[in-house]
Structures are given as structure tokens and as C-alpha cells.
Homo-oligomer: 215 residues x 2
């Protein structure tokens, strides 16, 4: 469409009326499509989301949704699996709100730092017990299970047990699970699944992990 090739300046030239009319007609059609989709999606329900893939944004998206939930007056529960040896920006910030956010970091660092499978399994089990307490509490509207996929990938937790606990949660509770390599069984039962695909990353260009961006 010529509109796509125009620029802001072209609105002052002779073609601008045609451009504007085509734009209006196109937006009218788009509005009809969007309104129909909104009409079709009426049911309210707790949503199970999975953020996976090798790209950036899996955990940060979960924490962005958490502040949306806080903005709407919900209580939030967070469990960070695998990560946790170092305090992250999200932890430092969310711990300002102890009445609204329950934050539990597993506190064992990355699995390749501990290099002990038994220690990792024990830490994952403790973290899952915390997660289960959130998944059993209807007062918590939004639950973040950050990097749970990593604990599942290494079989530190049994995926069927995890799915059973997720599916028995309160009907209106939202849960987001993050981490690379989400197991197919989890993707199957999830409502919304996004694969964060790496296009490029500053780290590869020699820029260190920046506070506020990566942690």
C-alpha cells in the first residue's frame, strides 16, 4: 500500500487526501475484525502462560505482568528456581511491597555453579513446596514461577506432578512459567505460550550483563 511508503511529510502534498481516505477505510476494516475477535473471547479465567525460547524477555515479561497485576490490586507470589544466589533488580524492587508480593528466591545460584545434582534437586523441591503454597491460595491472583523450565529440563522436578499442582490451582489465578526448553507436556496444557527468539544480543557484542536490563 502506498501509505506504507509515505512518510509524515507527505500529508502536506497533493496525494494526502487519498492516503488519508485509504487509511480510514483500512482502519475501519481492522476495527471490525478486532471488535469481532473481542466479541468472540468473552470467558474470564485464570491463564497459564509459558515464556520459553533462547531469546531475551522470558523472565522480564513475567515481572512486567506481575506489576500489571499489582496495578489491578492483585496479590503476587514469585518463586525463582535455579537463579537466586545474587539479588536481582526485580527482587530488590518487589521486596518493597511485602503486603502485596511474596518473593521466594531459591538461593542456590545456577546449576552449573553448584555442580551437585543432589543439592539442586533438594533446592528445587524446597522451591516447589513454596510454589504449591501459592498455587493453593486463592488470595494470590498472579504467580510467577521463574526458570521452572530449567528445573524440569534437568528432571529436578517431575513434570506430571508439577502440571497436576498447576491444574488444581484456583480458577481465576494466573500463572506464568519461564525458562528455556519448556517441556512439551507443559506447553500442551498452557493457555498462552510464547517463544522468545534471539535475533541478536548485546552480550555477544562484548557488552556485559547490565543491571536494569539483564538482572
Amino acid at each position: 500500500m502506498s501509505e506504507e511508503n509515505s512518510n509524515a511529510g507527505s500529508d502536506n502534498d497533493a496525494g494526502s487526501e487519498g492516503i488519508n481516505e485509504r487509511h480510514r477505510a483500512r482502519m475501519q476494516r481492522k476495527k471490525e475484525v478486532v471488535d469481532q475477535k473481542i466479541e468472540a473471547a468473552k470467558r474470564d479465567a485464570g491463564v497459564l502462560l509459558v515464556n520459553t525460547g533462547n531469546g531475551k524477555g522470558k523472565s522480564s515479561s513475567a515481572f512486567g505482568m506481575a506489576i500489571r497485576a499489582l496495578g489491578h490490586g492483585m496479590k503476587v507470589g514469585v518463586v525463582q528456581f535455579i537463579k537466586g544466589a545474587k539479588s536481582t533488580g526485580e527482587e530488590l524492587f518487589l521486596q518493597r511491597f511485602p503486603d502485596e508480593v511474596s518473593f521466594h528466591a531459591m538461593g542456590e545460584g545456577y546449576t552449573w555453579e553448584t555442580q551437585s545434582r543432589e543439592r539442586d534437586i533438594a533446592a528445587a523441591e524446597r522451591a516447589w513446596e513454596k510454589a504449591r503454597s501459592f498455587l493453593a491460595d486463592p488470595a494470590i491472583g498472579f504467580v510467577v514461577l521463574d526458570e521452572l523450565n530449567i528445573a524440569l529440563k534437568y528432571k529436578y522436578l517431575d513434570v506430571n506432578r508439577v502440571i497436576a499442582d498447576l491444574q488444581s490451582r484456583p480458577a481465576m489465578q494466573h500463572v506464568v512459567v519461564t525458562g528455556r526448553a519448556a517441556p512439551p507436556e507443559l506447553i500442551e496444557v498452557a493457555d498462552t505460550v510464547t517463544e522468545m527468539q534471539l535475533v541478536k544480543h548485546a552480550f555477544k557484542a562484548g557488552i556485559a550483563a547490565q543491571p536494569g536490563v539483564e538482572w
Copy 2:
């Protein structure tokens, strides 16, 4: 690897020693690789991030990074392009912190709601003026330009002008640009680019956009 096919239970069986040793050796190799990469990425710099694609998580990831930045004591500037007719959870929450977060929602709703190209261009220009004030302020460590890609896609703003303003920002300021269909010129100059790929979405299964998840 057999470890991948084992489960937590198998740690009690006869093979568990072998499993644990293979795990330790594998994690040792992984630690060496990770440590080398960290050693190679030493430079500190403001990062320009782009979150694009048709999947969920573009804007929520930007707001998750914003709270990381707040957790590290940075000031945050937010401009929401296109969106803004309805108060979102992120706006309701972040406006609690007027000393730390400057939040500007364009306030014209979606472009297919206004159906006026002139009105959209005028609103985008006003929003970009606000964005430029953040991009000129070294006291602001993290800037969110939410849905800017949509304003660029419709040519409401000139991509070269936008890139010039982004590139003249303070050296340590981080900026994240979100929205579908990021222009190639912007992807070219960005440091970190993620494509959020839709695997599945609750909306298609008839679940309405839930507060705390979608807005």
C-alpha cells in the same frame, strides 16, 4: 544423555552415582563455557533493545526490565505510543512512584479506534517530543518506548529521525522499543533484539484479555 531421560526418583536407584557424576562433569564443562563468555563481555554501555514479533511479552518484558532498573536505583521514563485510551495495570502501578518514574501515555487509543491519520500523526509527534526529553536526560537510566514500532510501521514518525535521537542519547542510558513489525533500520542499530513468537494464545481459545496478564 540418560540423565535427560531419568527423573527425580531415579536418584535412589543403582545408576544414580553414574548419573550424578555425568551431571557434575557436564556442569563443569558448562561452567567453563559460561565463565569464558562472561570474561569476553566486559564493556559497560547503555543498551538499545527491541522487542518485536506477533507473540505476547513485548511490552510486559519492557516493564519487567523497568522494575529491574528501579530495583537498582535508576530513574525510568515511559512513553506509550498508540495505546493509552484505557489505563493499564502498568500505568496504574508505575504512577505510584512519581519521583522515580515519568509515565506518559499518548491517550489516543488504538489507531483503528481513531481512524484519523492526521490525529494519529499529531499524537505520535507529541509523544515523540516527550520521548526526546527522556533521551536527552542523563538522570533517566532506563527508557521504555512502548509500541513505538506501530507508529513507525504506519509512518507516523520518520524512522531516521527516531534513530538519530536514539543514537544521541546518554552513553549509559538503556532504551527498549516494543511493538510488532520493527523496521529493519531499527533492528540494524539495536544491540539486543528479540522476536516474541506466538505459539498459542488464550484469546484464540475464547478467554477475554485478563487484567494483570494482557493490560
